[in-house]
């Protein structure tokens, strides 16, 4: 067995509201949605008209600049509405479920015996291709490029993250099929990264055809970006693909059954949830059926994803994002606190050693809220980011390079290796309250524009 790669830097944010290891079948939702915003830099072109009938796997929209990349319906029913935001940007394409689950059929068969082109074609037609994303930039993979390797991170260290071993239980066979398909897409390795903190008896350690790596340490050890940095760092001009474990299973089932299986498991977590647990549901589900009778009274924020990189959604009308295996509910922090900046802070979560909680109750779990805890300031404190980023990268200098739009410096300082989720902890700890991840995304956007257009 491979050695465990120990990650030393980072931070586990201890929060209340971990999901109990119980599966619940979520009540069927009335509507489901695909949100183009789940993919960076995507311009969707809608195919069916409003009220057109669709089946599971019917294309709903495609990428304007890559028409071969299609996005398909997770349910059968009708295209019921297209919700737009500012400048008519499409926020959600909503599908009304008829409960019949009639499905389109696609190619079926053992991917190990297929040609690369056949696999790519099958993934494109079924709408599963967009589940494969490429680094740098974390955008949809290009069909005509061969990545130097493919990474699957099979554990998550983010706050209240779901237990992937539990999530993936009993799906090993489908996972193996999915891996078989992915193996044909790269000439390099397929890396399957497991949590090194647990013994090796866990679910995915017997998967064949992959390089199994084990990581241990605090968040962000589970981030695929950190794992890439340690095993096969991205240099200028190189491409790595990443796929999430539940998506590997969907790919496996496509080849096994010839159908798009949109079922996923989502963990409902957070201190504002009555009974945090796991739900079997369908990709892009309305969040309302999951939250039913589960929200505590008060001003809550519902987040599709985790507290470090999720998106705020509406408790009644929101939809779970395509890549999210977690819904988190925390309290809104819209309150004033008298002299809060100087009080000892017995109940405050902080990495700073100036809080009493850090000394007296180091293992305490907190009910974190969304308060900003201060105002935005210029960069003053140094060395904070470096403590929570286990990469050989200088984040502060990189951010400054982005702020002055110095493309060369960004490349030199390793921007290709980063995604927002990797710097989310830097933003969390920042004393100056700098919007770190937004700056990084702006930098990635600028770079992508410069390099690829």
């Amino acid at each position: 067995m491979a050695e465990v790669i120990k990650i030393k830097k980072g931070l586990d944010i201890r929060m209340n509201g971990q999901a109990e290891l119980i599966y619940v079948k979520a009540p069927r939702a009335r509507t489901y949605a695909i949100k183009p915003g789940d993919w960076h830099g995507l311009t969707p072109k809608i195919i069916p008209k409003l009220c057109d009938e669709v089946k599971v796997g019917t294309p709903i929209f495609y990428d304007k600049y890559h028409p071969e990349i299609k996005f398909t319906s997770p349910v059968s029913g009708i295209l019921s509405s297209i919700n737009r935001g500012e400048r008519r940007r499409i926020i959600e394409v909503v599908l009304e479920d008829d409960g019949k689950d009639t499905a389109e059929t696609f190619m079926q068969g053992d991917p190990s015996e297929m040609k690369r082109e056949q696999i790519v074609e099958n993934l494109l037609n079924s709408g599963l291709w967009p589940l494969i994303r490429r680094r740098p930039y974390t955008v949809i993979a290009k069909t005509d490029e061969v990545p130097k390797s493919i990474f699957i991170s099979a554990f998550d260290t983010a706050p209240l993250a779901p237990d992937f071993d539990f999530l993936l239980k009993d799906s090993e066979a489908d996972f193996q099929w999915g891996v078989n398909a992915l193996r044909r897409l790269t000439e390099g390795k397929v890396h399957l990264n497991l949590d090194g903190r647990y013994p090796s008896v866990r679910t995915l350690s017997d998967i064949k055809g992959v390089e199994v790596n084990r990581f241990s340490g605090p968040h962000p050890a589970g981030n695929v970006g950190i794992q890439i940095h340690k095993l096969d760092p991205i240099n200028k001009g190189e491409v790595i693909w990443v796929v999430q474990p539940q998506d590997v299973i969907a790919i496996g089932r496509l080849f096994k059954t010839g159908k798009y299986d949109p079922s996923v498991v989502v963990a409902l977590t957070g201190a504002r949830v009555e009974k945090p647990q796991y739900y079997r549901t369908i990709r892009g589900t309305e969040v309302a059926p999951i939250l039913e009778n589960q929200l505590k009274e008060g001003d809550n924020r519902v987040i599709s994803g985790n507290v470090l990189q999720g998106k705020q959604i509406d408790a009644e009308k929101g939809y779970v994002g395509c890549f999210d295996s977690q819904v988190t509910v925390i309290r809104e922090g819209n309150y004033h606190e008298l002299f809060g900046w100087i009080l000892p802070g017995f109940k405050k979560m902080s990495v700073a050693r100036s809080f009493a909680s850090r000394w007296l109750t180091p293992r305490r779990k907190f009910d974190m809220d969304t308060n900003y805890h201060g105002g935005k300031r210029p960069f003053v404190m140094t060395g904070e980011y470096e403590k929570v980023l286990p990469m050989d990268i200088y984040p502060m200098q990189l951010l400054k390079a982005i702020l002055v739009n110095d493309i060369d410096k960004m490349e030199q300082l390793g921007i290709y290796e980063l995604d927002e989720e990797d710097l989310a902890l830097c933003e969390f700890v920042c004393t100056s309250k700098t919007p770190v991840t937004k700056i990084l995304r702006d930098g990635l956007k600028a770079l992508r524009k410069e390099m690829e257009e």
Partner: protein, 392 residues
């Protein structure tokens, strides 16, 4: 909460379009002093660490309190010693307090006034940087400094030392050191010599005949090998450590400064790497000089160097200023070491200027970006090398 209601009630005129909008920055400074704002996160990072700039910088101020308290007593102690009067503990403290309070008031009123005006002009919130500078400036002044000089130095420090670079976080030089250096070069007679360090000595009324206010460093620069106080009694190493010697208000007590250092290091606000490496650099230079000791000053034991003048004060409170120090962790070692090394070098080998710490820190402030540059360049080279290996 009634205070909150009061603040909410008087707030509207300060907001955009209100009659008092020109005072918004000042109002906000007071409001955020009273209350942590109710602002919530809007990006994808939904939670934030409870720490903020106010808390971090207030901790630096708290770390300076031991040095300040000792300075208050020490000012009174030396004053009464020079007059030859017996005075009780509280009498000394009261004298020192009255002597130092006006310097503080001038520093904060002038400095904060300029800060708030600039914040208003730039349409930003007032950054807390001046909390610390405003306390550092009085602590590095002699007790007898004229108040108008403090005001002029503060204006110079805040405007030329900081705001012209873009304000807090953008400055190259430590503002408090700029204030001190400005006075040193502009008004040398009031900032150096044998008289300024003890309250009342420049004026001279009632002072014992022949009483000398020379600092130990001043005496050492004359190459005397034994140091005496104003009454001709010998100083011990213990006096130097406790700080019962003449000097700037907050600089003399190494003990008080070490308590401050402990606060900074335990709360994680100050970089222990810098503090440690400044002392290490000073010790190394001190040992080197001892080896080649051709005169009495060079023979001064290296540990006494670390206790004298502004060395400890500079190491703990000024070299650690995160804005003007090296910003890479590796760079902090080099930066600190060179400060200590150069401080003793300048102190001993430059006869015109026995206090080298100030110049050493200012010099390294200027070089800190260069140190960082080389550290980061090494990181870049590593990345380029890696790319080549894979390409071939």
């Amino acid at each position: 909460m009634s205070l909150r209601r009061f603040v909410d009630k008087i707030k509207p005129p300060f907001e955009k379009g209100g009659k008092l909008h020109m005072f918004l920055a000042g109002f906000e400074a007071i409001e955020t002093f009273l209350f942590v704002p109710d602002k919530v996160t809007t990006g994808r990072v939904h939670i934030r660490d409870a720490n903020d700039m106010k808390r971090s910088l207030i901790l630096v101020m708290i770390a300076m309190v031991p040095a300040l308290l000792f300075g208050i007593w020490n000012t009174g102690f030396h004053h009464f010693q020079a007059l030859g009067e017996a005075a009780g503990f509280w009498q000394m403290v009261w004298f020192g307090f009255l002597k130092i309070l006006p310097i503080f008031i001038v520093s904060y009123v002038v400095g904060l006034g300029i800060e708030i005006a600039f914040a208003q002009w730039r349409n930003e919130e007032v950054a807390e940087g001046y909390f610390v500078s405003g306390m550092l400036i009085p602590l590095v002044m002699p007790a007898d400094v004229p108040l108008w000089m403090v005001a002029v130095a503060t204006v110079f420090a805040v405007v030329i030392g900081k705001e012209v670079f873009g304000g807090t976080g953008m400055n190259i030089l430590n503002p408090a050191l700029v204030a001190r250096a400005f006075l040193f070069f502009a008004y040398p007679s009031q900032m150096s010599g044998d008289k300024v360090w003890i309250a009342g000595l420049t004026d001279g009324t009632g002072v014992i005949d022949g009483y000398s206010g020379a600092t130990i460093l001043g005496q050492a620069a004359q190459n005397t090998s034994s140091f005496v106080n104003g009454l001709g009694e010998a100083y011990t190493t213990w006096d130097m450590f406790l700080g019962t010697i003449p000097g700037s208000i907050g600089e003399t007590s190494t003990l008080a400064i070490l308590i401050g250092a402990a606060i900074l290091i335990l709360t994680g606000v100050g970089s222990w790497k810098i503090i440690f490496s400044v002392f290490a650099g000073g010790a190394v230079m001190g040992v080197l000089l001892n080896l080649f000791a051709v005169n009495a000053f060079m023979a001064l034991p290296f540990w006494e160097h670390l206790l004298l003048g502004g060395f400890a004060f500079g190491a703990v409170y000024m070299a650690t200023d995160p804005v003007t120090a090296a910003q890479t962790e590796r760079g902090k070692w080099i930066y600190g070491f060179l400060i200590g090394f150069l401080a003793i070098l300048i102190r001993v080998l430059n006869p015109a200027y026995p206090e080298g710490v100030m110049l050493a820190i200012l010099l390294m402030n200027v070089f800190a970006p260069l140190i960082d540059h080389y550290i980061i360049e090494a990181n870049i080279k590593k990345r380029l090398k890696r790319a080549k290996v894979i390409a071939t």
